[in-house]
């Protein structure tokens, strides 16, 4: 088992003829992902450089290929609209990689996707991967370790890209495989968040522990801590980036800002610790902390 995506998942790419869309579609195919088509308005009937069929819109693409997931590489001004188009065509899941989408566009898009029952990952994220089965997004596939019989596996939820790779690599180097890794993105308004994913990982038979990577800005980690306290029994290791970030400054990610006294790392760390989460003080020790927890067999007592 895994969450959200697996070897059966069939995916189209919106923006498949753009530079990034084409490159990452190729990378996903190479990983073994079932990329089955693409959408570029006005190019229906042609084939992509990967020899995949191209359609004018998501309705046609889903109907012809049997896909129900879209990976979106559309430029920021049109990206929220592209996500809504996929939802309107019946997508079960939209993985929105694009960085720089106006927040008010995402406010509308998220509501529209909710109304259509479409799950969203992102925006401004590396995507989602179930190692050995399905990679949707821009993460380097080889750093991940597919679960093998009798091995422990962790689920990873993260607001950051490279920091996720760091955590994945630390786990892989210690023989810990990953069930599914989800980059939820660095924007203030996004799709799936900690709580929904914690629920999925808690229910997943093949996930033995959960790594949660957060950062300054907003109160999502505090809400997650509250949820963990009541509903999560599996061991959770967290790291919160930005303990040294000054208030009022946007630290690269649109959502990473301490404002009005809200969104500090200290508040998040305190909430997580009091929920029984092991918070790694160093970004270099995330894998090691998880290794120790899994070895000791400790769970969160609820």
């Amino acid at each position: 088992m895994s969450i959200l995506v697996n070897s059966e998942t069939r995916i189209i790419c919106q923006g498949i003829t753009g530079k990034a869309g084409a490159f990452h579609t190729a990378q996903c195919l190479e990983y073994g992902t079932q990329m089955v088509g693409g959408v570029t308005p006005g190019k229906a009937g042609t084939r992509s450089e990967h020899d995949l069929p191209i359609f004018n819109n998501c309705h046609d693409a889903f109907a012809a290929t049997g896909a129900d997931v879209s990976m979106v590489f559309v430029p920021p001004p049109f990206a929220a609209d592209a996500a809504m188009e996929a939802a309107d065509a019946g997508a079960a899941l939209v993985v929105l990689i694009t960085e720089g989408i106006p927040t008010l566009d995402m406010v509308k898009a998220r509501k529209f996707l909710d109304d259509k029952g479409t799950k969203l990952i992102g925006p401004n994220c590396p995507g989602v991967i179930t190692p050995g089965e399905c990679k949707i997004g821009i993460m380097p596939g080889y750093i991940h370790k597919p679960r093998e019989e009798g091995q422990k596996a962790v689920g990873i939820i993260s607001r950051s890209g490279t920091l996720t790779y760091e955590a994945v690599w630390q786990c892989t180097s210690r023989g810990i495989s990953q069930s599914t890794c989800v980059g939820i993105g660095g924007d203030p308004v996004k799709g799936l968040n900690y709580i929904e994913l914690l629920e999925m990982f808690e229910a997943d038979d093949e996930t033995d522990g959960i790594v949660m990577i957060g950062e300054i800005g907003g109160t999502d980690e505090e809400h997650a801590a509250h949820y963990i306290e009541r509903h999560v029994s599996k061991p959770v290791v967290a790291f919160i980036a930005g303990q040294t970030a000054p208030p009022g400054k946007r630290m690269g990610h649109a959502g990473a800002i301490i404002s009005g006294g809200e969104g500090t790392a200290a508040s998040k760390i305190e909430a997580l610790q009091s929920a029984g989460v092991v918070v790694s003080t160093s970004p270099a020790d995330i894998g090691e902390e998880m290794f120790k927890l899994l070895e000791s067999g400790v769970t969160i007592a609820n």
Binding site: P140, L163, P246, M251, S282
Partner: protein
């Protein structure tokens, strides 16, 4: 992105929000002319982003043309120093000369994004004129909120509820406050604000409702679609190094320490700062070179870091995913050749093509370059070098 008070007043006035008569001036003569036009009692306010203007003497009530002249001369000839500016202070290039009005009551009105509810929230309070964080802390019930539906926006009953919370009783004042509220929400949507705030909104003894001061922040991701905001952008209020980095698609933020950081990815860049601090060092900056960094971009990143005279050591932390380690290594070598490293540069590379990268760096045999085995090793080495 931020704008000046006078610009926020312009946007509000265009949306039908009444503001006191005012002029923006760029020299002392213009200030006096503005007074001659407005007359009576005026307030002269320096147009700078930093707060603490009143205490620093950069907001002055004036009753005569001579007083305006004195105030304007002071504000144009001195740099404003407050607890928000740092010791070097900031220069006021423009002043706002506005008609001073008598205040009977002060209110607060703002629209801001609620991240948890994923929609804008309108907040009003009868306790205006003070910082809203203070009100939220001491008397949270004094703030009344209404959340805006993502597709429907501000609804009539919400206006009624919010205005009722201000405690106005006269019909025409209730109507006027409703108009202000609708105007503020309109500006919020029209210009993709992250925050649109009127504080204070006031009632004069004659019952007039006026916006006295306004603050606006905009969503940086949306500025591309607002020509008017692009024209309002004031580069002189920004950190020059941060602007220079932006031109090269780098995200740089100046900090107070002495260890320069060059990292790919915002989360990892923050994590690297934390790691330095954990090992007893102080980061000099946040710098995210991004996923698709070019050799030129990386060289510029080194230039920006090494231009800082405070920097006595550098930590390069790259987890190569899409950005390949050998590309970074080539950039490092080129940067070393072009600008030369005068301080120790500790390099930690991991990920795609790392073996090739390590070979390249070894062959290049760069002076001052210190390879690190892993993240912790890198932090320890750079902290030891600058200690």
């Amino acid at each position: 992105m931020k704008i000046h008070e006078y610009q926020a007043r312009e946007l509000l006035a265009d949306a039908g929000v009444p503001v006191p008569a005012s002029s923006v001036v760029e020299n002392v003569d213009q200030a006096v002319q503005a007074y001659d036009k407005i007359g009576g009692m005026v307030v002269v306010k320096a147009q700078v982003f930093a707060g603490g203007r009143g205490k620093a003497g950069f907001v002055k009530l004036c009753n005569t043309a001579d007083e305006v002249k004195t105030a304007a001369e002071f504000m144009f000839n001195n740099r404003m120093i407050s607890n928000q500016t740092g010791p070097e202070g900031v220069e006021a290039k423009k002043l706002l000369v506005a008609k001073a009005v008598d205040i009977e009551s002060e209110y607060y009105m703002a629209v801001v994004l609620d991240r948890t509810k994923r929609c804008p929230v309108v907040m009003v309070s009868r306790e205006g004129g003070v910082e809203i964080e203070v009100v939220a802390d001491e008397n949270p019930d004094a703030i009344v909120k209404q959340w805006l539906d993502p597709h429907l926006g501000l609804m009539g009953f919400q206006v009624t509820k919010l205005v009722a919370a201000l405690g106005l009783t006269e019909k025409d004042q209730i109507k006027a406050a409703g108009k202000v509220l609708r105007g503020l929400v309109k500006v919020f949507y029209q210009y993709d604000c992250a925050l649109a705030e009127i504080n204070p909104l006031i009632r004069t003894p004659e019952g007039e409702i006026l916006a006295i001061d306004a603050k606006m922040n905009f969503d940086d991701n949306a500025v591309f679609r607002h020509k008017r905001l692009q024209e309002m952008f004031d580069p002189s209020e920004e950190n020059p190094k941060e602007l220079r980095a932006q031109e090269h698609n780098l995200t740089y933020i100046d900090l107070d320490g002495n260890i320069g950081c060059l990292v790919n990815g915002a989360g990892l860049a923050m994590g690297t700062m934390d790691l330095i601090k954990l090992h007893g060092g102080e980061p000099a900056n946040f710098l995210d070179v991004g996923g698709s960094v070019t050799k030129e971009g990386a060289i510029e990143a080194f230039r920006i870091i090494l231009d800082d005279p405070e920097v006595t050591g550098v930590l390069v932390n790259i987890f190569g995913g899409i950005a390949k380690c050998d590309t970074i290594a080539e950039a490092l070598i080129a940067a070393a050749n072009e600008i030369g490293f005068k301080v120790p540069v500790v390099v930690r590379l991991e990920g795609t093509n790392v073996e090739r990268a390590r070979e390249l760096l070894k062959e290049a045999n760069i002076d001052q370059l210190i390879p690190a085995d892993d993240l912790t090793d890198a932090a320890k080495k750079v902290c030891a070098k600058v200690a």
